[in-house]
Symmetry: C2
Subunit: 619 residues, 2 copies
């Protein structure tokens, strides 16, 4: 492909509105252009990457018997009313009316559409299991679209759905998808983890998230590609390295999710779902009397504990929430943080939010700083974190501004509905399997698999006849990959700083990309330095033709531009191999450069294919 | 691919709401399912056809240097306001608001998006020409969605756009697209014509439409596929043939466009644009006096001519229109019909419709049956068809209900602004090139290419610097293919009635499909008749494996169903080759059937690949 025929509008500078490196590079390297907030055009380079990702996915899904289909994006609100999601999905749902005034939405996901399809097309357990997927634009009217393709309003998703007559079959397909996802992300060149995820959002139970790990900003060896003029990291002066470190740390860390993983076992979970080991203290303590004490100006747990001269672990924090319209009270030990997702999932709530302080004050008689569980109306559900059961003679708010109780004990002074794990884990706690301690990493969610069970087939009445002729709801799974987001995740991990030294001895560094082999828009960037040199251009044409015949995809920079512009654009575009047809063209010698290592080798065109075959093996 | 893993919900009967055969068959054969009016899910079979069409298109566009990209479907209204189309496009445009209340549309086409892209990415004539295309869902809120994928509200389009520094370059790319389109439609197995089209809708000038020709319902040879049990058409009894003819004619003719083409030359045009030869009569006639005569109860031209005992060719019909808010009068000879498109294009109007009778009556003083050009206010533009200049001493409405003038003459009694071709041609008129006479056919528009010129670059200020450093608007072309509609057009032409004779001697016929080779979802339908016969199933597996290795795409009917159900589904699904593993499986002999001819041959599996290689050459 001639570069002059592609639209690759590279920029000299990073776009000023980009905060993460993937966003900056995909705009600067001419891969995408924003059309409106969170909505992008995929220019020819990005379109090729998306198509390569599709090919990888199709190959891996073929292996697990998944069949591709294509649903519309414009969906009648009626089927979303059947599932109940039309009203509960929230403001992210694009709603519109057609010319007759009927309500429609732009699909953010397609559980309803496929449930309807299965309801109509599948009558008997004998037709199951089925496993279908599609790749198409999805829509979410994000409150704050940001970071390029990481959080867009129109984005490309692969969404798969499976239908089963029993849970064993669902488990098998769920595991197949896990295998397929691991193959897809590995082939996409990603460092990723499969972790325990929150299935609640899709109405499901078991779920796993696939997280692209945000790379360490301090590890220069992974970020820098040294030109042969530089030699080694040691040769770069400290002031240049300091600049480089500062450049690296200037970019925002992209992962919006925190992953808690064990230092020793394979336990890994989204912080939203992570737990740590809990062992009851078993301590026996004599119950003291309940005494109301004045705690003036003590708003926080720390202030109360300091004022009363006790450890924070002897206080109970009382928080109030609204879950589907009901007031719910949560108790936590001292400075433990509530994990909203755990509490919401425990309650099985669709709507969940902090309670309004005015409402709380009307019921409790006090403001947030002085809430407590003693003396609350019987109809208020009190959920306590597991660790709360170890606190005897606790300090709790007295439901009177400026006062707390000491000596409060569950069972005697207040009733706990249930002790459950609702706290957010902290780094360094023991992994729930008892092996190793929890460590945190940041990651980008690129895939998610869910066991939906009968969430949709129940509400939409998608039933089949089972072996005994009874009508039973179809059991379902759903499986997503953020395809456009995958491109961002790849660039977060494959952005590089290319460092070289000028003949005068100055060090230069510039951002670029080292695309993983299977996703790169082309395999080879073929660069004739001087397009007016006829001999060199004939050699270029002959190399291009030979490479194409050998199955390489080639981008040929046929532009009449300076060598510096061509090389700089080539680093930005980021193809794995660069072949330069330069001064030795007359001798039939070209330069081959491996983008990822900066290694270069001069090769005679007669040996070019053999050399490439060897060099590309290791990519 | 195992048939049990695909979702192919075939139906026993034609769907009752389908009026055209393509719609009926694509639902009955399990290719698509309607989700809401004009909005379909492409089930796995249809998705494969769509993907094959995409592959064909990509191959042909590669040849002409067109590069694929992908724009969003959700577009800011702002850019459509820049082009002016936000307000003029009409009720077909889906409009919605995002959460901040900004106006958006769902793109029915992407001229604005690419013009914006070119405005930002292209600065100099040196970067031109460029030629890009995309394949994506498009949206039109059709007043009356109908006939399956023929007129949908969400549909798949290939839309291409080219950008040029001069008109010669536009002409070259336009011609490249014509070549590519002809290759694409030929490979899609379509009988089609490239005709002169109406470019007005896209704001363009030259345009060509590609029309899939609606096949003749009376030509039994093209519709019937005779099983070997039938032998020849002559053996079918007349009462059965009568039934078959009635079945064929029961389906609505699908083409919404009428094509006027020459019986001898290659002239062909959409009826909207068609002209015929016009030679002025040159007759010299003495002008008579203008006389008002009573024409009681004469509402039509025929009634007036009969009452006055003159030929209709001596009358002038006067019609009133509103073009962009202005009243315009059109004059036609006798019973000639006005061609709205020609008149609208001549006027260069965005809005064009018949005038309201009440408004007309207020200005003319008469109702529609008695309108005439005599005595109209000077500011009303009067456009006459060319043939009107041959009518001397004409009869025209007197602008008084129940009265006409005789002896009316242009120039003396009324003023004509211009004589232009605004009439609808009739079958049998001489072709405009003087060669042959016009014949009419019905067709489905499957492609359309336009020379847009500077329609969008002017309004959206997409300029480049030319060779002299002057800022000039980019010259553009746009090129569309209705990809989902293409599937309907293929089925209109490749639907077949499969006829066989039962052992008892009864004739049966049933609808099915004979898919063209390159678009068929699979190449071969492999049917083991009895899935409980282990030997036959082993042979089936071995054949499947050999066929896949040889590069065939195979659908294997692994369902435990009766042979009749399997064969009937196979005729519906319509793959080019059917291989039946039946009673002679133990001997290694299978039956190969060519779907399009009904020819069958028994083959030993050892010769199967060779036989298929020969048989599929002719498909």
């Amino acid at each position: 492909m001639k570069q002059s025929k592609m639209i690759i509008p590279t920029l000299r500078e990073m776009p000023s509105d980009a905060q993460v490196i993937s966003h900056a590079l995909m705009v600067r390297a001419g891969y995408v252009r924003q059309v409106s907030a969170g909505i992008y055009s995929y220019l020819p380079l990005a379109n090729r990457v998306i198509e390569k990702a599709k090919t990888i996915m199709r190959q891996e899904f073929d292996k697990i018997g998944a069949v591709e289909f294509l649903a519309p994006a414009l969906l009648s609100a009626d089927i979303w009313r059947e599932s109940g999601r039309y009203d509960t999905y929230g403001d992210d749902l694009y709603k519109l009316k057609n010319r007759e005034g009927s309500d429609f939405i732009l699909g953010p996901t397609h559980e309803e559409t496929v449930t309807l399809l299965a309801r109509d097309a599948v009558k008997s357990y004998k037709q199951l299991p089925l496993n279908i997927y599609q790749i198409q634009p999805k829509y979410r009217d994000e409150k704050r679209p940001r970071n390029g393709l990481l959080r867009g309003r129109e984005f490309i998703m692969k969404d798969g759905y499976s239908f089963h007559a029993n849970y064993e079959s669902l488990d098998a397909t769920y595991n197949d998808y896990k295998t397929a996802y691991e193959a897809i992300f590995t082939r996409s060149g990603l460092d990723f983890k499969a972790i325990i995820g929150d299935g609640g959002a899709m109405g499901g139970k078991d779920s796993q998230e696939f997280m692209a790990i945000t790379p360490d900003r301090t590890d220069l060896n992974r970020w820098l590609v040294l030109d042969k003029s530089v030699g080694s990291l040691e040769e770069i002066p400290e002031n240049v390295l300091a600049e480089i470190r500062s450049e690296l740390s200037a970019w925002m860390v992209s992962g919006e999710d925190t992953i808690a993983y064990s230092s020793e076992s394979d336990y890994a979970a989204n912080l939203e779902m992570a737990t740590s080991e809990y062992k009851p203290s078993g301590k026996i303590v004599t119950e003291a009397d309940l005494v109301k004490v004045e705690t003036p100006d003590c708003k926080s747990i720390d202030e109360v504990a300091a004022f009363l001269q006790i450890p924070t672990e002897e206080t109970i924090k009382t928080m109030a929430f609204k879950a589907d319209g009901e007031l719910v009270v949560a108790l936590l030990m001292g400075n433990d943080q509530v994990n909203d997702v755990k509490l919401k999932n425990y309650l099985g709530a669709d709507f969940f939010d902090a309670a309004d302080e005015a409402e709380v004050q009307a019921i409790f008689g006090a403001r947030f700083g002085s809430l407590g569980p003693v003396g609350l109306p019987d109809n208020i559900q009190i959920i306590a974190d597991r660790k709360v059961q170890d606190i005897k003679n606790a300090v709790v708010g007295a439901n009177q501004d400026g006062y707390h109780y000491t000596g409060a004990n569950a069972g005697r002074d207040f009733q706990v509905s249930e002790y459950v794990d609702i706290r957010e884990v902290k780094e360094g706690e023991v992994s729930p399997d008892g092996q190793g301690v929890l460590q945190f990493a940041r990651g980008i969610e690129i895939g998610h698999i869910f066991k939906l069970g009968t969430r949709y087939s129940d509400s939409m009445k998608a039933h089949v006849l089972d072996e005994n002729g009874r009508s039973v709801p179809i059991i379902m799974g759903s499986y997503g990959i953020g395809v456009s987001r995958l491109l961002s995740a790849v660039l977060e991990q494959h952005a590089r700083l290319f460092v070289n030294k000028t003949p005068k001895g100055d060090f230069r560094y510039a951002w670029g990309i080292n695309f993983p082999k299977e996703l790169a828009p082309f395999d080879v960037h073929l660069i004739p330095v001087n397009v007016k040199d006829e001999e060199a251009m004939m050699l270029t044409a002959s190399i291009e033709s030979n490479l194409l015949t050998a199955g390489y995809e080639v981008l040929t920079d046929d532009r009449n531009e300076r060598a510096g512009v061509k090389f700089s654009d080539s680093d930005l575009i980021g193809l794995p191999i660069r072949i330069t047809v330069g001064k030795k063209a007359a001798e039939g010698i070209v330069e081959v450069k491996i983008k990822g290592t900066g290694d270069t080798v001069e090769v005679h065109v007669d040996q070019l294919l053999e050399t490439l075959a060897i060099l590309t093996q290791d990519l």
